[in-house]
């Protein structure tokens, strides 16, 4: 492996560069576009030299959109807040429900335990619409359509299995001996769980929570079916915004940038946890 020739290193470098360009160029280009007006966006040939403008962002943030057809009120910031609120609340609830269950699955061999675990895992593989379409009719009867509670409940479909399976793997890796020792010295079961097991599984909990937040943020179909404009997250809101804004391409680009920036920033900030969560969740459990 140490005998790599210069030629090989050059080829490797060139290939990696191509790969990086393919995967990063779209993000780069949309960011550039978000600082332009239609005038420079529509230029042929396209050029990366332009006078940057913040007008797209200020239009989105103030909610006043100037189109050729006149002024338009948009609720994009509302969508952004919805995304944040729905994802954060869903993850917190999923952690509260999922960590004890994950511990139970990891520590106790109990009847039905494996069955329940598999049922939960199989949610991961059922077509979402299979549950969502009947649910949309039920929600109408229950008055849960277009409510945060209804959406957060359905978001458990994404968050709960993920947290359960990743955290369960971490609990399984902790030696029960440590817990036994702590219990023998006279501590209650609950205290052992809270003071020993949970802190030791912290990296797993962080990884699972982070992934769950990102997947919840990126979800599209749940809110498309169960929410109207005022409760919609950015994924659905951006699509509606494209139709509403007509041909203000810079504003569409700015809306996309604002919508993807939080998850991308989070991913970069906590990439170590993320890679761990992704590979553990899928390969190891």
């Amino acid at each position: 492996m140490d005998h790599t020739s210069t030629l090989e290193r050059v080829i490797r470098g060139a290939l990696i560069t191509c790969v990086l360009v393919f995967f990063l160029f779209p993000i780069f280009w949309i960011v550039l576009m978000s600082f332009q007006t239609n005038e420079t966006i529509l230029r042929i040939p396209p050029s990366i030299v332009f006078e940057p403008t913040l007008s797209n962002y200020s239009a989105l943030i103030t909610g006043k959109l100037e189109t050729t057809a006149g002024n338009l009120d948009i609720a994009f910031m509302r969508n952004l807040w919805n995304s944040f609120f729905l994802s954060a609340a869903s993850v917190l609830i999923a952690l509260a429900l999922g960590i004890p269950a994950a511990y139970a699955f990891a520590r106790f061999r109990f009847r039905l335990g494996e069955d329940i675990a598999f049922t939960l895992l199989s949610f991961r593989f059922a077509p979402p619409l299979l549950v969502l379409l009947p649910l949309s009719l039920y929600f109408k009867q229950l008055g849960l359509t277009n409510t945060y509670i209804g959406l957060i409940w359905v978001y458990q479909l994404i968050c709960l299995p993920l947290i359960l399976w990743i955290v369960r793997g971490y609990f399984e890796d902790i030696s029960p001996d440590i817990e036994h020792a702590y219990r023998i010295s006279g501590n209650s079961w609950l205290k052992t769980f809270w003071k020993i097991a949970v802190p030791l599984a912290k990296p797993g909990i962080a990884a699972a929570g982070l992934l769950a937040f990102i997947f919840a943020w990126n979800n599209f179909v749940f809110a498309l079916i169960l929410a109207s404009a005022d409760k919609q997250p950015v994924t659905v809101g951006a699509l509606a915004f494209v139709t509403a804004s007509g041909i203000q391409y810079g504003q569409i680009a700015a809306a996309i940038v604002l919508s993807i920036a939080p998850t991308l920033a989070l991913a970069l900030y906590a990439q170590r946890y993320l890679v761990e969560g992704l590979s553990l969740g899928a390969v190891k459990g």
Binding site: L133, V234, L278
Partner: protein, 291 residues
């Protein structure tokens, strides 16, 4: 108390999920009904007629075909590309690590928004990609709005979003392989193609199978990208299962048929996921026993 503890701990999670299980059974029931939201009077139990009608329905077979082609094509390309990139980045150098982190970004982009990004880039008036292909001589390339290139375009977006997923899993796999066989092969001067096909690939196989089945299950159910890009069009060119059943439900208000379509899709994924879970458990066993 001691015996009830595990049940108590998992009960809350279970209760939340039961609320989600009920609509699942409702869907099974709906699929046996003649049930149209706009014609409530016609509602009635018809056993398997919705399914039987599929057999002679060209639209249904088009959906089956396009879903399978879509899943096979995207996962095939993503697997080859993901494996290639993982091999390129195998050595844990600083540069390679940074590159692998940056490659996570498309995966962290919401697929529905990724579709919008590519829509802007493939716009016939100003899209940068339309400009690039016009330099190559394709002046009237219509990307997702042309039936002959729609599948290609949507596959491109899917590949952009999901290749990093396979790459990350295979990279983790590659880096966890035992060193000894490779050192022995290097000492003996074994040719590298031989090492790759006879040592690396077989040892990586469990990871490859897991990663591609994971993706296959997702891809056959793809909704976000296809819906945001073309809503199943042009015509019915990209009418994959979930898009078709969504339109069946909300546009044609044919609940029975929509549910039956989803049950067929679920049967396909159930079959695939059974294979997947078996493979996955085997891997888990190895990871826990071997380490």
């Amino acid at each position: 108390m001691r015996r009830a503890l595990p049940y108590l701990l998992s009960l809350p999670a279970l209760l939340v999920c039961i609320g989600i299980l009920i609509p699942f059974f409702t869907a099974v029931y709906y699929s046996l009904l003649r049930f149209r939201l706009n014609l409530p009077a016609m509602k009635g139990f018809i056993w398997f007629d919705n399914y039987i009608n599929f057999l002679s329905d060209a639209a249904f077979w088009n959906t089956v075909k396009i879903s399978l082609v879509y899943a096979g094509l995207t996962v095939g390309v993503e697997l080859l590309l993901g494996l290639g990139i993982a091999l390129l980045l195998q050595k844990p150098t600083r540069f390679n690590n940074i590159a692998s982190i940056l490659l996570l970004l498309p995966l962290m982009t919401a697929p529905a928004l990724a579709a919008l990004m590519w829509k802007l880039m493939t716009n016939p008036n100003f899209g940068i990609l339309s400009y690039f292909v016009s330099l190559l001589g394709f002046h009237d390339f219509k990307w997702a709005s042309d039936p002959s290139t729609a599948l290609f375009t949507v596959t491109l977006v899917d590949v952009w979003v999901y290749t990093p997923f396979i790459m990350i899993l295979l990279l983790a796999g590659l880096r966890s392989l035992p060193k000894a066989p490779f050192e022995a092969a290097a000492l003996d001067g074994v040719p590298r193609s031989f090492v790759f096909f006879r040592i690396t690939l077989p040892m990586l196989l469990p990871y490859i199978i897991t990663a591609s089945l994971f993706r296959l299950l997702d891809s056959i159910q793809q909704f976000d990208i296809v819906y945001s890009m073309t809503q199943g069009g042009p015509g019915d060119r990209l009418m994959v299962f979930q898009v078709q059943s969504y339109l069946e439900f909300f546009q044609y208000t044919n609940v029975g048929r929509s549910a039956a379509l989803l049950i067929v899709l679920w049967a396909i994924t159930y079959l695939l996921s059974n294979i997947f879970i078996k493979q996955w458990l085997k891997l888990r066993e190895r990871a826990h026993g071997g380490a």
